[in-house]
């Protein structure tokens, strides 16, 4: 694998939902390099989740090439080894936690990778400990709170030791305490990741660059410069309807106030 190519490379990817004509992904190009910490802010329905599922091989694109760790991936079989190296955190943690207890869920990935019983339990314990979730090892998954579920789901993904993380709206429905915990956790990880979120504050706290999506393509030069409050105006013109809600303006104003104080 050459030094200057990305670990994940999507070229000319097109995808439309079966039975429809409108393209969710339209000749999309994206490259993620080792060490990248990318945020993605875009309105609903622009195909962000589809993009992540395409990288994982869960959505089969109509055209284009997917190259991951230097290998071009075509069919289901090609994706199998890749899935253990890329961790996808789903939007809804209930989708991801399907085992009865937390311990079984976190150990599910390592067991599938062929680790022995003892090793899998060890890995699960270490991962839960690193996220401060040791106390929940024997808890029943569906009785956890929303924030606990999200952290356990993250532990389940991290237990597989992925090289890249894909996070699909990790803060959706969480309170500020859990959000701050997530920010802390993500900033301590030394793996590459791509975060999809609607929350500018969160994304700017955990990433180095911010992309957007429009008309089925990724915009990398959205003219967004973090820690400079001008970007907010540019950003809100770029993304039209979704963010013209009062809530977003409130967030923007708070962000501006913070920036002015500094």
């Amino acid at each position: 694998m050459a030094e200057n190519t990305g670990i994940i490379r999507l070229e000319d990817i097109s995808y439309s939902y079966p039975g429809t004509d409108s393209k969710v992904l339209d000749h999309l190009n994206l490259e993620i390099f080792q060490g990248d910490r990318i945020g993605m802010i875009a309105p609903n329905g622009t195909g962000k989740t589809t993009l992540l599922h395409t990288i994982m091989g869960l959505c089969k694109p109509d055209g284009g090439t997917i190259t991951i760790f230097g290998n071009a991936l075509k069919n289901e079989k090609d994706f199998l080894p890749v899935r253990s190296k890329i961790g996808l955190l789903f939007q809804d943690s209930d989708d991801q936690l399907f085992c009865p207890t937390v311990m079984e869920d976190v150990a599910f990935g390592p067991l599938n990778l062929g680790f022995s019983h003892g090793q899998a339990v060890d890995m699960a314990k270490k991962t839960l400990e690193s996220l401060g979730m040791s106390a929940f090892e024997q808890s029943i998954t569906h009785r956890l709170s929303g924030g606990q579920k999200r952290l356990v789901a993250l532990a389940a993904v991290l237990a597989m030791n992925p090289r890249v993380l894909l996070l699909d709206e990790p803060t959706a429905g969480l309170d500020n305490t859990v959000k701050e915990r997530l920010i802390h956790i993500l900033n301590q990880l030394d793996i590459s990741y791509l975060v999809i979120s609607h929350e500018f504050d969160f994304v700017s706290a955990v990433t180095d660059k911010i992309y957007s999506m429009e008309n089925g393509r990724v915009l990398t030069n959205a003219g967004i410069n973090i820690h400079h409050h001008d970007h907010v105006r540019k950003h809100s013109t770029l993304i039209s309807t979704e963010y013209s809600l009062p809530g977003f303006f409130l967030e923007v104003q708070q962000h501006k106030k913070k920036a002015l104080k500094k």
Binding site: H53, M56, L58, L80, R83, S84, G87, L88, F90, D92, D94, D95, Q96, F98, C99, P100, T101, M103, E104, A107, F108, G109, L111, N112, L113, H117, A120, V121, I140, T141, H142, R143, A156, V157, M160
Partner: protein, 251 residues
């Protein structure tokens, strides 16, 4: 939400291996259901009461659990004595209460109480997760075990979704009545629930694929081999078999 009021406990029954408890419950309830003499069924009832006492279950919660059973039994007591043919014990006009009807009702009552108590003492004293694990180790097909565990995991999620839909309908002024509009609304709710469950199933499957699922079921529970387990199982099986043979020969 599925409550497991009896799953947590410190009695020796709680500490036993799931496999042993499943097999013991199966043997006892099968033998009890084959029994047809009152003097024998009383022994089974006694065994079940001993097991429940040994599991040190909360008596109030146990009574609550038996309530639906008593409703069912009261229906049987209402129908069988009146409809069964045989020696008439009492009659009032055309209404006749027969002896075989009463005997049969009593037998059904004994048997069902015995079996429910056995299952409460042995099967309800483990979590559904352990039950799944035990069934898996008894070589039940993986698909069935998965079905059980997935039901257990997602039934609460589906219930939550149903409540959310119903709440949304109520907030917009929906009052359930016996009219076409209410029926239509409930049909829509049910349909929506199926659609959502199906979509969720697809997402869960995707999440499983992402974590390397290949159709194999792994389980983490470890129960150390314990001499007491096998002694308990042997005792239960011998007792059931003994009572069964005794009944066949002497009655």
């Amino acid at each position: 939400m599925i409550e497991e009021p009896f799953a947590q406990g410190t009695s020796f029954i709680h500490n036993m291996e799931p496999r042993i408890k499943i097999l013991a419950a199966f043997a006892l309830s099968l033998a009890a259901s084959l029994c047809s003499h009152f003097s024998i069924i009383r022994v089974y009832l006694l065994i079940s009461v001993i097991l429940v006492t040994a599991a040190r279950l909360n008596f109030g919660a146990l009574a609550k659990r038996l309530k639906p059973l008593f409703l069912f039994l009261s229906m049987i007591w209402f129908i069988l004595p009146l409809t069964f043919e045989g020696r008439v014990l009492y009659h009032y006009g055309r209404i006749r209460i027969t002896e075989p009807g009463i005997l049969l009702s009593a037998m059904i009552t004994f048997k069902s109480i015995t079996i429910v108590l056995v299952f409460t003492a042995l099967v309800a004293t483990m979590t559904v997760a352990s039950l799944g694990n035990g069934l898996h180790r008894l070589h039940l097909p993986d698909k069935l075990v998965f079905l059980l565990l997935m039901c257990y995991r997602y039934i609460a999620v589906i219930e939550e979704e149903y409540n959310r839909l119903l709440r949304a309908a109520k907030f917009r002024g929906f009052i359930p009545r016996t009219d076409l509009h209410s029926y239509k609304t409930f049909a829509c709710l049910a349909g929506m629930l199926f659609v959502r469950a199906s979509l969720r199933a697809q997402r869960v499957h995707k999440a499983m694929l992402c974590r390397g699922f290949n159709g194999k079921f792994h389980t983490l529970d470890v129960f150390l081999p314990n001499r007491f387990n096998s002694i308990f199982l042997r005792a239960i099986v011998c007792m059931s078999l003994g009572l069964f043979i005794y009944e066949q020969i002497w009655f």
